[in-house]
């Protein structure tokens, strides 16, 4: 494979968004690529002198992907021996394969965990990217144990499910699991928090740091304050202690 085909440059408002966009476009995970930051970008004042972030993704071991795809074919075959779940929407046909694979995977995991719940799987909006995320909604009675402390359980469930679905498909797809609309509620909460902190920063003039958060939650804060004319945000520290700081522009 030529150098050009294994390297991709992406430009986006921030490094984090650029990486996320690049991985989506390539259909790969962070483990599959080397990330090189070419330009961290600059926010600028009132949109003046701002510069977008620029990164390069280099694909590690370019032949690996093909092997994976072949092997996944075998896995899919072994999987078909398992008893099929009866599912109304499955009979409709013409369903994207990532949706049916995701449904099958989550149903098996929940069944092994002895969880009874309503599961719905669909493709989400493709957020100016080509890859549409797979959205899994789990609803039912007393499911808070599936969310866990600091979303630990729901994140573990989402991580394992997305790994399995990615392998079955032979390509990575963004996948999000929600339980009892927890993520929506959390997003609303974070947006509110972000605006409150921004107000405090403006009135005191002092920089503030939020609690450490996972990447998806930091992203919500960055986006919420992106168009705020008075403050700017930056993530500092290393995961899992990485946190958003808010300061005056």
């Amino acid at each position: 494979m030529s150098e050009e085909r294994t390297k991709l440059e992406i430009i986006a408002p921030s490094v984090e968004e650029a990486v996320e966009k690049g991985l989506r476009d390539l259909g790969l995970t962070e483990d599959d690529v080397d990330i090189e930051v070419l330009d961290e970008g600059k926010k600028g004042l009132l949109g003046l002198g701002s510069r977008q972030a620029r990164i390069a993704l280099k694909i590690k071991g370019a032949s690996k992907k093909k092997d994976k795809a072949e092997k996944n074919q075998e896995l899919v075959k072994t999987r078909e021996v398992l008893p099929e779940e009866v599912d109304e929407s499955k009979k409709m046909g013409a369903e994207p394969e990532e949706v049916s694979i995701a449904r099958e995977t989550i149903n098996i995991i929940l069944e092994k965990m002895r969880v009874t719940a309503d599961v719905s799987v669909r493709l989400g909006e493709s957020d100016d990217n080509r890859v549409q995320p797979v959205l899994i909604d789990i609803e039912g009675k007393d499911l808070s144990f599936l969310i866990g402390r600091k979303a630990e359980t729901i994140n573990a469930l989402q991580f394992v499910t997305s790994l399995i679905v990615g392998r079955e498909l032979g390509r990575w797809v963004p996948l999000q699991i929600d339980v009892q609309h927890y993520r929506q509620r959390r997003e609303d909460e974070l947006r509110k928090l972000a605006r409150r902190i921004a107000d405090q920063v403006v009135s005191t003039g002092r920089k503030q740091a939020l609690e450490p958060m996972p990447p998806n939650e930091r992203r919500i804060v960055h986006i919420e304050l992106r168009d705020n004319p008075d403050v700017e945000t930056e993530s500092v520290g290393e995961d899992p202690k990485r946190k958003v700081t808010v300061r005056l522009k």
Binding site: K71, K112, M113, V115, F145, L146, T153, L163, R167
Partner: protein, 83 residues
């Protein structure tokens, strides 16, 4: 039998993630309400079930603990390197 679904949970996830699903084996020992599971995979597949920084293994343990708690037991998962 109690704990069988926990064993199946680990088995399903491991088999779905490795290159050699036929070499996945989960052994179970039960002591009172403690379920001890040992996951054996091919040497080449160790990285796939452990993950970067143990992320895959820890996620499997999180799901396992939640599933065990639901039936009033406790579970422990060891991933055993083939000798």
């Amino acid at each position: 039998m109690k704990g069988d679904n926990l064993q199946e949970l680990v088995e399903f996830v491991a088999q779905s993630l490795v290159d050699q699903p036929a070499n996945v084996n989960v052994e179970k020992q039960q002591r009172g309400n403690m379920v001890q599971l040992e996951l054996h995979v091919a040497k080449e597949d160790m990285g796939r079930v452990i993950g970067k920084g143990g992320r895959v293994a820890n996620s499997i343990r999180t799901l396992l603990n939640v599933a065990a708690a639901r039936e009033g037991s406790r579970a422990n998962l060891d991933i055993v390197e083939p000798s």
